[in-house]
Symmetry: C2
Subunit: 291 residues, 2 copies
């Protein structure tokens, strides 16, 4: 059984670990995200005394994912200025002569779900993480879809309820895009209260579910997937799923031309990996490159 290294790279912390083919975490460490040099030094230091056959990295974007590009693994324009143009792949490759694969963090989490969770065996699946931002992982025709960058459909422009137009969402680029409306910061911006403090019976959740339901409609129309998987901090409110399914069906307006799209309980499902899905996704990436 292959032992692999995984790196989950986020804006505040990097989680590094060693795992097996079952996605079990055999060892892990948390490293604060500071400058690239300092952060990566600690990561390299951690892995240097470990045995593993490959490294999988799921990291925040935007990031160059074209394997044929010289810039493979380079962080592009990001608010984390020090990381702009930093090439994670090259740094790791200099120290570890093993297969290394870099992916957008949401695609990594999706691969975890495809390998051990809610998307096992699927050829077309979309994963949304609704948390600090809204990210989407795209698995189309048995491979990640990157296009010329990677999916940024979390910023999709959707209809805004009239009651929400005066205040609007929090996205600095689009104001009222999906992320601006339903991410944690979006909810806080719009209602002045954090998601975890909003009671279940609050109409705020209907509002949030309405927008995520619309996003699921556009997702269905765009990709015709077998399943949409919803993860991330906002989805920790488990009652939210049923509301989203209802709003999805309502917004679809009877346009579900195949049964799969209206069998909502099997079509819109919660993420199953809760014990560090990002790190498990990174293990899945490393396992996949060894196949």
């Amino acid at each position: 059984m292959a032992i692999v290294a995984g790196i989950e790279g986020g804006g505040t912390k990097f989680i590094c670990g060693i795992g097996n083919e079952k996605g079990e975490i055999l060892d892990s460490i948390r490293i604060e995200t500071t400058s690239p040099t300092e952060t990566m030094d600690k990561i390299i230091n951690y892995f240097q005394c470990k045995n593993f056959e490959a490294i999988g990295v799921g990291v925040f974007g935007p990031i160059e994912l074209d394997r044929d590009s010289e810039e493979y693994g380079t962080i592009l324009s990001t608010p984390k200025i020090q990381w702009q143009q930093y090439n994670i792949y090259k740094t790791l490759k200099e120290h570890f002569n093993r297969p290394i694969v870099i992916e957008h963090d949401v695609n990594a989490a999706l691969l975890g779900e495809l390998t051990w969770g809610a998307a096992q065996g699927l050829r077309n699946a979309i994963y949304y993480t609704v948390g600090t931002g809204v990210g989407a992982g795209l698995w189309l025709n048995n491979q990640f879809h990157h296009g010329e960058l990677h999916g940024e459909i979390g910023h999709m422009l959707i209809p805004v309820l009239e009651e929400d137009t005066p205040k609007g969402g929090s996205c600095p680029f689009h104001k009222n895009c999906l992320e601006g409306l339903v991410s944690g910061p979006g909810i806080y911006h719009r209602f002045g209260i954090k998601g975890e403090d909003i009671p279940q019976e609050s109409p705020i959740w209907d509002n949030v579910a309405h927008y995520i339901g619309i996003a699921c409609v556009n997702t269905t129309l765009a990709y015709a997937p077998q399943r949409i998987i919803l993860g991330g901090g906002v989805m920790n409110q488990e009652f939210l799923l049923k509301k989203i399914q209802e709003h999805y069906l309502d917004a679809l307006g009877g346009y579900g031309q195949k049964k799969i799209f209206i069998d909502v309980e099997n079509f819109i499902v919660p993420a199953q990996l809760h014990n560090d899905p990002g790190l498990m996704g990174a293990f899945a990436l490393a396992n996949k490159i060894l196949l």
Copy 2:
């Protein structure tokens, strides 16, 4: 050089023809769309005295496109009741023992653009036809993306301008989806005037371009394509393209993380095939299956 048969199947007419590898139409016939049996009898009759190596069919949807399915080539739920559950592939295969490929009409038109038009050599391209409806052809990673059906992103739900909310769009399913707002019938429903009668200086065109621009933003975020190609009757208003490019950049809000997405003159372009793009697309399908 291969001589191929092409069929462009629409709700009012089927265009059948014989073409060569350059997409040149060597012969063609127009057949009214009536009942499936009557229509297909005429089609079979036309082709029976012709020489060709393969048949490409681009037809209205929704249609089953999974080659592994027993139902490959079956028209699904459509307002054209007689055609529901009719299998075009089986009927053709009974009469012509040659390679036959069925595609959604917009994907066929996109393949024409990929072969001879505005999308030559691209690995990721999206084609919109804005006409009686809004259809999208999806070419991702050098293949059509069907998912579990095919792209219906022409029905995407987008933000509606406040001035347009009282009247709304024409879509019987979603009212204000892209198709409901900018298709020919959508424009007529909203403004009481046909596209070809609206003068160039009318603010209606800014309104239409605004929505198509937003659709191009969502398309960019969803697929990160190399190019978006716009065709169909509404796009015959050539001045519309520049307005769409402007509204796209405005709605993107500076979120173009790669130069390719903001180089609008190369990114959002008009379709190049005007001499029956549907039939040329069908030829391209037939040529492709012979490769």
